[in-house]
């Protein structure tokens, strides 16, 4: 049965197609980072929180510490692996929330039209104009350090990112004959929206979500770097860099550079994938 479906829809067998090397490398890197975070308890060579003052600020390549140790002698490789968990999960939460909010508001604006559309669109324009990081900082000011409030604030900040795309795609798709046809067939508005409209704008949503994930990752890491994000002993890449600041000024930059490069490479990989998805969609729509 599955075989038959696959034969009927050759487009589903995406993996067979050749992708640019940068895209393959980015996807591979993200899989490795995600697995490193997921399997950190199994793979990490050391406990991430065990300090050893005799062994502090060891350079990378030191016996037993592949990426060196930080200023309190904690193993940098183990900490980066454990840090990947919060560093990736929190922006994932932001994207999930803004996907729900943005899709709901975008579809509502497109389908309802009139003043509801005007209010939602103008509201999204206003939110879009404010940098997410400022909203996250203010959220942290309200609740104190921690990730919950900043994640919610960033979800609101990135809602227009999803919502505007959904709205314009829904307006475009809404004019197409197949939607009119399903309406004539007697399907309700909600059913038409969920069953026909949403699947058709899904690729755009995925591409836009990838970009939003990258932005949210940077915002949350910045917040933790500023000491307003994760609360110790929990750690993400941003707070690791923040703790390495004085070591950097003393000439031992490794414990800060390693998580810094982790942030950088992850964001590059996410952007490459998002850009590739967006580009593929654009080409498909052209033809």
């Amino acid at each position: 049965m599955t075989l038959a479906v696959a034969k009927l829809r050759p487009g589903r067998l995406r993996l067979r197609r050749r992708h640019p090397a940068a895209v393959v490398a980015s996807a591979g890197f993200l899989v490795v980072v995600a697995l490193a975070g997921l399997l950190a308890p199994l793979l990490a060579p050391h406990d991430p929180d065990t300090t050893s003052l005799l062994n502090s600020l060891a350079p990378p390549g030191t016996e037993g510490h592949l990426l060196g140790t930080d200023s309190t002698g904690r193993d940098v490789l183990s900490r980066v692996m454990y840090g990947a968990r919060l560093s990736l999960l929190a922006p994932l939460g932001v994207v999930a929330l803004s996907l729900v909010l943005g899709t709901a508001l975008g579809l509502l604006a497109a389908r309802a039209g009139g003043w509801a559309d005007a209010v939602i669109s103008r509201g999204m324009d206003v939110v879009f104009a404010f940098p997410g990081l400022l909203l996250a900082i203010l959220a942290s000011a309200v609740t104190g350090p921690g990730l919950t409030a900043p994640v919610c604030a960033l979800a609101v900040a990135y809602t227009p990112f999803i919502g505007r795309i959904v709205r314009s795609a829904a307006v475009q798709e809404g004019a197409r004959p197949y939607l009119e046809a399903s309406r004539v067939l007697g399907y309700g508005e909600v059913s038409v929206t969920l069953r026909h409209l949403l699947p058709n704008i899904l690729p755009v949503l995925v591409a836009q979500s990838a970009l939003a994930f990258g932005y949210a990752l940077v915002d949350l890491a910045s917040l933790s770097y500023l000491g307003l994000g994760v609360r110790p002993p929990a750690a993400d890449w941003g707070s690791m860099i923040s703790q390495a600041q004085s070591a950097i000024l003393q000439g031992s930059p490794w414990s800060g550079l390693v998580p810094g490069v982790a942030v950088l490479l992850t964001v590059i990989a996410v952007n490459v994938l998002g850009g590739h998805l967006g580009g593929t969609i654009a080409r498909k729509q052209d033809t």
Partner: protein, 317 residues
Amino acid sequence: MRSFAVHCGRRVLGAAATVLVASAAVYGSLRLMPGDPVLAVSGASRLSPDQIEALRQRYGLDQGVVTGYLDWLGHALRLDLGTSLSFQTEVGTLVSARLGVSGLLIAYAAILALVLGLGTALVSAVRGGLADRIATAAAAVATATPSFVAAIILLAVFAVGLGWFPATGAGSGFADRLWHLTLPAVAMAIAVFGVLARVGHAALRAELDREHVEAARGRGVGGAALIARHVVRNALAPLVTVIGVMVASLFVGTAVVETAFGLDGVGSLLITAVSRRDFPVVQGIALIAVLLFVVVNTVVDLVLPLLDPRTARGVKA
């Protein structure tokens, strides 16, 4: 011309409404802080109930949220942003003393990003070939570089490793200050440079491929005149929108970069105030930030019809 006047009027009214709504949200959300902010700030120092009541009165905490907001807004309109809880100084004084450093930093970073970003876009779009591919890759990496990651790399390499630039402080005197602010400005400018190089490239490339450029070439317009009058002139409108968003992001970027380089500016003051739960300072700086964003956005909206008259009539380019 009449449509332009109507457009201006609507934008300015919209901007005023946005400031009102956003400032109400800022004030209201900070009033929702759990716990008594006066107690949170005074912390260990034991205050008598009378003193606490006096403080609550002074910061308008004894009023309801709505009257408190109107009172706060009224004072803010007279440039009185209240008194800091932790510095015991006027918020206006605290901010204006730090405005010089932050303003220079933003201007420095904006100039670096604009000149290098648009320059790269121009060279890569017009030249093509290898230069184009190198520029595209560099822009992709730069776009993904968070300012604090750029900051620690610059600190490790150019301040500590090579010793070419100071690691902290803002210096004194104009030349010394520029020297001190160079690494922070570069850290802030990198991501903006990447975005401008990429968007600029796309905008210029789109114009270069259009028929009117081909027609101008056919008429014998060539070289710099073709690029300046036919390509850049038409690519400006989409670029101005992006430049507006990027300049707004630089305002917030100061919070991260000033903290990373130990600069005493408005951005680092905001972070200090948030961590000390000094809400009059947070409210004051948030209000200034809201004003700046709305001003930048309104200026962009007003400039766009001058570059492309179709936007004022609501026609998409």
